[in-house]
Amino acid sequence: MTDYKISAKDVQVYYGDNHAIKDVNVDIEDKTVTAFIGPSGCGKSTFLRCLNRMNDTIDICRVEGDILLDGEDIYDPSVDPVQLRAKVGMVFQKPNPFPKSIYDNVAYGPKIHGLARNKIELDEIVEKSLRKAALWTEAKDRLHAPGTGLSGGQQQRLCIARAIATAPEVLLMDEPCSALDPIATAQVEELIDELRQSFSVVIVTHSMQQAARVSQKTAFFHLGNLVEFDETDKIFTNPEDPRTESYISGRIG
């Protein structure tokens, strides 16, 4: 039993022959925000998806190594991935609202987990989640319009709202602000900060600034390797690995 919320040991991921994640060891603390950064295609999403076994749904994907959540191996056959995913929520890189109304999109999680005793509580949860995801003002008049009719950024926020509505212990967010304007981004970052009070958050981002702003720990991935994992401050000010250094210093975007 470790002190970490999640710890990954010697994780390898293969897509068929493609070795996408090589020997990654990461410990994610509770009540912290951990950022994954790295060039596109380096395996951030892949690794993130390992943490709640979303990779199970990809036929050709094979995961090796141990990933412990609260000291329990999540790849243990006796672990129920459903319970795991209820604890470890996820916001995907491509916004994927259900072809249902906005309300139903958000209410879906609470409903299946039985988080609301009645319609009023459910309405409350939906409103709170939408508010936190900074979508309430835009959505409140069209709660029953289809979620797929939203703009790109709105869809992304809808997916965030949907994820936090189920109150997970760990929230995995794959580039949650990629389609958001600065103000919305700030609101989501605020949300992340708020979530950190009780849970842990893992966020994939391409914005170094964002990583610096919201995270306490940062992991830098490169070509499937975890190059460096340390305090965010350390990574951004005094990286150990030259690759990190050079990635950081191309400080653009």
């Binding site: 509770d30 609260d70 459903v82 319970q83 299946i112």
Partner: protein
């Protein structure tokens, strides 16, 4: 961090999860059960079909060596019912045969007649084709009557047999002797696969071959008309049609056509193709046209459903780089909806292959498939039957021998269906993907 108050092990399921997982298991079990029920029925049906139909694939014959003289031949040819004369000649010859084999059994000519099937036609055909065999000893393998075959198969026993002009109990003694002497044997019934229909008093001579050909030509017509027309119509309706009354009309129309009883298509075919367009009766071409109209709705409905399920982002992607609507449909949407189209085709063709009622009105049911077509054009135009029609006809005949044939025909039909589907299923497998 065990101090988290919320900690619950994921290996220990909380009651709610337990309930949900139970629901999950149940749900899954329903699925398995549903398939199992389907499979069970299929198994039961297959078992019934095989059990009743396999006998059709064997036949029992009597070996007989005969020398037919020229006079006998000329005499027979001068009669009205020549085949009966040939048969009698053979029966007369039988005693020599027994002597040659050193067999001693009491029989009379009538008994032999009861044992043999309707063999006159075969004999006559043989000599007319091989005139040089006249005067030469020739070995024949003559089909036994359906009741004697039933005895070999155990369907008829001495206990159940009621003496009749078709077979008497004492005849079975002769059968036993001849069987022991090796003169009566069973063999694979090629004639069933290659033969044509026969009269109701000749179950042994009935074969399904000609109607397989009939079905084949019909299916060609159906496939080459209904698939392109069906897909084209679906594409128009789903992708191009303006959303207006006319489109609605067509849409409702198509669903409605699917509910039209198949015999009504027969009425339509009779009046349009035969009476108005003067196409020949009993022709696979007409059958194919009627079945095409009947399958179209199935193909259109399934094609539309699967066109609909292609996500709009794919269309957008193609349009966004300057593909025309037509190109986006034919290059992207259509290949992606191929599985559904093929499913519709499989189901539609399967239905068309097994349908009898519409054929009734355009003259393909009855005693039709007696001759093989002698070319591709005549394959489409000459009178022929189709497998289900043939099966239907056989099933109604009095002689139990035909009942076996009917089930045997069903086996052939299903094999035909499987072969036909195999290609479509293979293609469908190739087109299936998830994105």
């Amino acid at each position: 961090m065990t101090d988290t108050p919320k900690f619950t092990s994921m290996k220990v399921q909380d009651p709610r999860t337990k309930k949900r997982n139970a629901a999950e298991k149940r749900f899954r079990a329903y699925g398995i059960a549903a398939i199992a029920i389907g499979g069970l029925f299929l198994a039961a049906l297959t078992f019934t079909i095989l059990k009743s139909g396999l006998p059709a694939f064997t036949q029992y014959v009597m070996k007989l060596e005969v020398t037919l003289s020229q006079e006998q031949f000329d005499d027979a040819e001068s009669q009205l019912l020549k085949t009966a004369v040939y048969r009698d000649i053979f029966i007369d010859n039988f005693s020599d045969q027994l002597e040659a084999n050193g067999i001693d059994v009491n029989y009379d000519a009538d008994a032999l007649e009861r044992l043999l099937g309707k063999v006159g036609g075969d004999i006559r055909a043989h000599y007319r084709e091989n005139l040089s065999d006249i005067g030469q000893p020739t070995v024949f393998q003559l089909q036994l009557s359906s009741r004697v075959e039933g005895y070999f198969r155990g369907r008829v026993t001495r206990d159940t047999l009621v003496d009749s002009r078709f077979l008497e109990k004492t005849d079975l003694d002769i059968v036993d002797v001849l069987r022991d002497a090796g003169l009566m044997t069973g063999r694979f019934n090629w004639a069933f696969l290659t033969g044509t229909d026969s009269g109701v008093d000749n179950p042994g001579g009935a074969g399904i071959g000609a109607s397989v050909i009939g079905s084949f030509f019909m299916m060609l017509v159906v496939l080459f008309l209904s698939l392109p027309i069906g897909v084209a119509a679906s594409i128009y309706l789903e992708e191009f049609a303006p959303k207006n009354r006319f489109t609605d009309l067509v849409e409702v129309n198509i669903s409605n056509l699917a509910a039209v009883p198949s015999i009504v298509f027969g009425i339509l075919g009779l009046s349009v193709f035969i009476q108005f367009m003067h196409l020949p009766q009993s022709a696979p071409l007409v059958g194919g046209l009627v079945l095409t109209l009947m399958t179209l709705p199935t193909i259109i409905i399934s094609t539309r459903a699967s066109l609909k399920s292609v996500p709009p982002s794919i269309r957008d992607a193609a349009l966004g780089i300057g593909a025309s609507k037509m190109q986006s449909v034919f290059h992207h949407v259509l290949p992606l909806s191929m599985p559904g189209i093929l499913t519709g085709t499989i189901i539609g063709l399967a239905q068309a292959l097994g349908e009898t009622a519409p054929l009734l009105l355009i003259g393909m049911v009855g005693f039709v498939a007696r001759e093989y077509p002698d070319g591709v054009v005549s394959g489409f135009m000459d009178p022929n039957s189709a497998m289900p029609a043939q099966i239907y006809t056989w099933a109604a005949r009095a002689d139990v021998g035909f009942y076996e044939k009917a089930w045997g025909g069903i086996i052939v039909l299903l094999v035909f269906l499987l072969l036909m589907n195999a290609i479509a299923i293979f293609l469908r497998k190739k087109f299936e993907r998830r994105w």
